[in-house]
Symmetry: C2
Subunit: 109 residues, 2 copies
């Protein structure tokens, strides 16, 4: 586990890089599509509704950022999540997003 968060400069940059990868709708869809198990590039292309070429471009970035893992089976290439952190992080963010406004503090004088 982790007691506290204190990011040094490098870690901050590296972490931002991970978030940047998830910050693109198509890429995020590719990741979430892999939450229920490995998906082939073909499946992902159909699910995401974008060109196969574009899917591959995004998958390459996600692979490089270790947000997705690749393995081959015959002529298909499958992608899945490397660990459970991404999953729980997605859940947390989704909760945050779905939460109603709490601290709006309008300053109308």
């Amino acid at each position: 586990m982790l007691k506290s968060i204190s990011l040094d400069r490098d870690e901050g940059t590296q972490l931002a890089e991970l978030f940047r990868l998830l910050g693109e709708p198509n890429r995020l869809r590719l990741v979430t599509a892999c939450l229920d198990g490995p998906r082939s590039v073909g499946e992902l292309t159909a699910l995401a509704g974008i060109s196969q070429s574009l899917v591959s471009q995004h998958l390459r970035l996600l692979r490089a950022g270790r947000l997705l893992r690749q393995h081959r089976a015959g002529r298909r290439v499958y992608y899945d999540l490397p660990d459970c952190h991404v999953r729980s992080m997605l859940i947390n963010m989704l909760e945050h997003m779905r939460e109603p406004d709490e601290g709006e503090e309008e300053n109308e004088s």
Copy 2:
């Protein structure tokens, strides 16, 4: 709690937007700097090592995305996290990042 993740198109886009906000090193530093309690813009400017103007620009975006909350005290404006989800999400991602490589599966034939 949340049983499963199934994002519709809109939620996906919205969630990606949140990640995009965290995907910029300076902005991520501003958010993490607020993890230990409210920080004034002045403090944040010193901590982040960028111009006050730029800090304000980023704070505005973080505010709009409800990743930070704003409240005024005298001539100072303080920022802090609106809920605990962002915190736990950051922890999860940090763990993911610090984890050693698991699934590299080199295909060298």
